[in-house]
């Protein structure tokens, strides 16, 4: 009966554990749900480390409980007086020495597995990698697809990185202000962006999908809302995205959007943002040339739709307190025109 109870509670415990793992795997920004070759290697390593650690834990705790049980069965007396039995003390020395030796072997195994995993991760494999430059800013990500043959074709965007599935992506990073850290756990571990240093990393997405990442190094007020998305898509789709991003913003045709462009250029927007093909060329804030093609605004904070955009333009400080974008006072007509214009920036 006791055994049955134990089995039942063990089953229940196992169920809870599985549920926990399931919860852990279902997040869309998760190291436990690898979608790229590096993250997959790391997650195998994680599994190995967790299982080994759990076994070691169970063995050591079992040893402790065994020691407590044995000790409690002895008649109560002063242990100090009878530890001099040399045989027993020698047995204990043997046990402790073997445990230490076993620990050393397990640690060596850990080391070996760690170092070989690290080695394999540092080797870029497969097709010629795609190069992307990322610059960290408080609190958004500047993303560039340099075209070394034709600089005019260099794509500038923000907070959304499109990559082709199956092709390695080589990222060169630095920061414009403080230290940030680039982390999309479904694809790879993190890498810091450090002002005055250039850091490099690479990853390869093996499954098409949209993967969220976010800044992992504390970088000030809005560290919490400095996210980005990696959109992994089949090669053809990626190439067409890249081509569309290479073109300057289309000139608006309807009068509302034309009015909106005038608002953009005459209000404070153009002080910080650039839209290629217009007079707005400031690099302080994110490039908005193809704003309407992005999924989110404010660095992954809000879905990109007209309502959110209006709220963000008028009062960014209530959404991201401390963000560098000031509140804007626009009359309703100007706001509507601006929103219409921004909507044309596909």
């Amino acid at each position: 009966m006791i055994a049955g109870g134990l089995r039942r509670s063990a089953a229940r415990g196992g169920g809870i554990l599985l549920a926990g793992l399931f919860i852990a795997c279902s997040g869309f920004q998760s190291a436990l749900d690898p979608k790229g070759t590096k993250a997959a290697t790391i997650s195998q390593l994680t599994l190995f480390l967790v299982i080994t650690a759990a076994v070691v834990y169970v063995v050591v705790i079992a040893g402790l409980l065994f020691a407590m049980r044995r000790a409690s069965t002895r008649p109560l007396a002063f242990a100090h007086d009878d530890i001099e039995e040399p045989d027993r003390e020698r047995t204990r020395i043997r046990w402790v020495a073997s445990a230490a030796a076993a620990s050393a072997l397990i640690l060596l195994l850990f080391m070996f597995v760690d170092v070989s995993a690290a080695r394999s991760l540092s080797q870029v494999g497969g097709l010629r990698p795609l190069r992307i430059d990322v610059v960290g800013h408080q609190w958004w990500w500047e993303v560039k697809y340099p075209d070394l043959g034709n600089p005019h074709n260099t794509v500038e965007t923000a907070n959304e990185i499109h990559v082709p599935v199956g092709r390695p992506v080589f990222i060169k990073m630095t920061s414009d202000d403080v230290i940030h850290s680039f982390w999309a756990p479904n694809l790879d571990g993190k890498k810091d962006l450090i002002p005055g240093h250039e850091t490099r990393t690479w990853f390869r997405a093996d499954t098409a999908g949209v993967y969220r990442g976010q800044c992992a190094e504390f970088c000030g007020h809005q560290h919490a809302k400095m996210a980005f998305f990696i959109v992994a898509e089949p090669r053809a789709k990626f190439e067409s995205w890249l081509t569309s991003q290479q073109s300057p913003a289309s000139t608006p045709t309807d009068s509302l959007a034309q009015a909106g462009e005038r608002v953009f250029l005459s209000a404070s927007c153009a002080m910080c943002h650039s839209i290629s093909g217009t007079g707005a060329g400031s690099k302080y804030g994110p490039d908005l040339t193809h704003l309407a093609s992005r999924r989110t605004i404010a660095s992954g904070t809000l879905p990109n739709n007209v309502g959110n955009l209006a709220g963000w333009i008028l009062d960014p400080q209530s959404i991201k307190p401390g963000a560098k974008m000031p509140p804007n006072q626009l009359d309703p007509a100007a706001l509507q025109a601006l929103l219409a214009y921004l909507g044309t920036l596909k």
Partner: protein, 656 residues
């Protein structure tokens, strides 16, 4: 479980260890009391140089900071209990998590471990005071002023907000304008001075003032742990002295040590900070290991198994502790080969901890455990610390660390290490030594509540954080979006925090009740082996009536069927102590401890004033230095009391 059954041998009042039957006992006691008495009242309090009164203040102050740091953690947990919570905004949240980390590391953990050492080490090694009593007082005042500075600033909305690690350039003049990070840098200066003073006191006291016969290989493991920690402080702290001074100078007088635009380097800070910051963890952890050895020895009633292995493990841990700092920087652009050395060191350091754990298990195995609250906290250590230790080996792996680094996985890891590995032993130590310090036992009934609430709360709070971290939740975020799916576990974590808070409340209630109406403890309520239990509870201002002579590792157990040998012939009309040789503790000199004075407080006021004023104007340094120089001149002014041995007559005295 059979616990708390007293031993027949110890209940016989005539056979208690340390019972002395020297005829002139009463007379000696009266003379020592009169020469060591510091009086009462405010002036006596401000001028005290007795290590016990200073260490008691130190401990109480550190526990107040522990409570403040805990309240900050509670506020963070309230904010994070659900997504997009608006309880506190980013500005306050960033101040609070910086305050929490800075408080727990600089104002609680390191000071409380040193303070317990400053209280117990002199009594445990059989001397009357620490080596430099006035310096010791200065250390406490500096620590107190540093802590008060931080909290006054915080309540005036000038709390630091760039993290306890204060990475540049975020903490530099450009990205943290205002005075917030200046306050942080100067608070660090205060605590550096206090920690270094404590370390110098402990090393000197242990090396030169041990009771005759207490050779290094007979020192209690707690004393070894304190000694090794003090050496770590002496080697690690200069690194933070340099870096915090460079940061303060970058901020105050426009040096550009860390400014990449002017040839400085942002990574330099990380190397300097972690060269201190990683040993810092062991500076907290090693004294806790010493406490555990004391607890386990007292409650299993046998000497710790494998004494030489224990000591060597502590020393190995201390050495390796200096070779780990880069594992905080695996995501920075350092070459993989170089980083691998730090993987090796971070993995290897698990071994000495493992050896100690195995030795303790062997001790329990062959012991006669009594499951007092103190011992339960020691058992809790095994359950919690081993989790933290194993996740520590996991994050030593570079690829895994790149996923876990700066996420809640790491938050979970180091809370298991620091709460399981240091706070649990600390609570065990409080239950062990509270009767010695106050003369009253803590309630075992409330103690069990304290333990179980803490143990359960700790696991409910920190275990789910492992999963949250792997689910992608970064550290130091003031909020998160509902669609991240972190809400449920965060709510659970916050409920765990409530359990921990209630456990600490039970502890405080226990202390309060015991101080008012606790059961009197007697000299040696646990029948433990070390010298602090040979004197009365609480100990008199002079520590031991006679300096004991030590003939083994467990003096009171060795003396159980006889009497403890003592030193006689030291002068009792002045603060006289015995200096002994470093290795074998053979008597070498008599030594006079300095008595009470206001000078340490004055120096702390002027020196500390200089440090605080420097936040606002560089002239603070000039004015404060001149004032401090005047105080120091008074401090070092040669005084020769009429009965003082002059150097010409000083000679080695053999004391039989």
């Amino acid at each position: 479980m059979a616990h708390a059954q007293a031993l027949p041998a110890f209940n016989d009042p005539d056979r208690r260890p340390g019972t002395l039957t020297i005829p002139e006992e009463d007379e000696t006691r009266a003379r020592l009391s009169s020469s060591w008495d510091e009086g009462s009242g405010l002036w006596a309090w401000l001028t005290s140089t007795n290590h016990k009164s200073i260490a008691k203040r130190y401990i109480v102050t550190a526990i107040i900071f522990f409570i403040l740091g805990g309240l900050e953690a509670g506020m963070m947990r309230a904010q994070l209990s659900r997504p997009e919570n608006r309880f506190i905004g980013p500005d306050l949240y960033n101040q609070i998590f910086t305050m929490h980390g800075s408080t727990m590391m600089f104002l609680f953990a390191v000071p409380v471990m040193e303070a317990i050492g400053l209280y117990l080490v002199p009594i445990m090694i059989g001397t009357r005071n620490v080596a430099f009593p006035r310096l010791n007082a200065l250390g406490y005042w500096m620590y107190l002023f540093g802590g008060v500075l931080l909290y006054v600033a915080f309540f005036y909305n000038t709390g630091p907000d760039a993290g306890w690690f204060a990475y540049v350039p975020l903490s530099g003049p450009q990205y943290s304008p205002g005075k917030r990070m200046d306050v942080w840098a100067q608070m660090i200066t205060f605590t550096e001075i206090a920690a270094l003073i404590g370390a110098v006191e402990i090393v000197t006291t242990i090396f030169k003032q041990r009771a005759p016969g207490m050779s290094l290989n007979r020192m209690p493991l707690f004393v070894w742990a304190q000694l090794i920690t003090a050496f770590m402080i002496i080697f690690a702290l200069p690194s933070i002295v340099v870096s915090s001074t460079m940061l303060a100078m970058d901020r105050l007088v426009d040096t550009h040590f860390f400014n990449p635009a002017e040839g400085g380097d942002a990574l330099l800070w990380q190397h300097l900070f972690w060269f201190f910051g990683h040993p810092e963890v062991y500076i907290i952890f090693i004294p806790a290991l010493g406490m555990l050895s004391s607890i386990i020895e007292a409650f299993t009633r046998r000497p710790i198994f494998g004494y030489p292995a224990m000591v060597l493990s502590l020393i190995t841990t201390a050495f390796l502790g200096f070779g780990l700092w880069v594992h905080h920087m695996f995501a920075t652009p350092l070459p993989l080969l170089g980083q691998s050395f730090f993987t090796a060191a971070s993995t290897a350091i698990a071994l000495p901890s493992g050896v100690q754990i195995f030795c303790w298990i062997a001790t329990i195995w062959s012991g006669r455990p009594r499951y007092t609250t103190s011992f339960l906290f020691a058992i809790g250590f095994f359950f919690l610390f081993i989790i933290g230790g194993l996740t520590g080996v996991m994050v030593a792996s570079i690829p895994f660390d790149l996923q876990a680094h700066d996420t809640y996985f790491v938050v979970s890891h180091f809370h298991y290490v620091l709460i399981g590995g240091a706070v649990f032993p600390l609570f065990g130590a409080i239950y062990l030594w509270f009767p010695k310090v106050t003369g009253r036992l803590l309630s075992e009934r409330l103690g069990k509540w304290n333990f179980w609430l803490f143990f359960i709360g700790m696991n409910v709070t920190f275990f789910p954080m492992h999963i949250l971290g792997l689910m992608g939740m970064p550290r130091r975020v003031y909020t998160y979006l509902p669609e991240m799916g972190w809400g449920g576990l965060n709510l659970l974590v916050s409920m765990g925090a409530v359990i921990i808070v209630s456990s600490v409340a039970v502890f405080l209630a226990n202390v309060w009740v015991s101080l008012r109406a606790g059961v009197p403890a007697g000299d040696n309520p646990w029948e433990a082996a070390t010298l602090e239990w040979a004197t009365t509870s609480p100990p008199p201002s002079y520590g031991h009536l006679f300096i004991p002579v030590v003939e083994g590792r467990d003096p009171l157990w060795d003396a159980r069927n006889g009497e403890l040998a003592v030193v006689t012939g030291l002068r009792t009309d002045r603060h006289e102590g015995l200096l002994t040789s470093i290795m074998d503790a053979e008597p070498e000199h008599r030594y006079e401890f300095k008595g009470p004075t206001i000078l340490p407080l004055l120096l702390a006021i002027f020196g500390g004033g200089a440090i605080i004023l420097a936040i606002f104007t560089p002239w603070g340094v000039t004015v404060g230095s001149i004032m401090s120089a005047i105080v120091l001149t008074c401090w070092f002014w040669p005084t020769i009391s009429p009965d003082h041995d002059t150097p010409r007559h000083r000679r080695r005295e053999r004391i039989a």
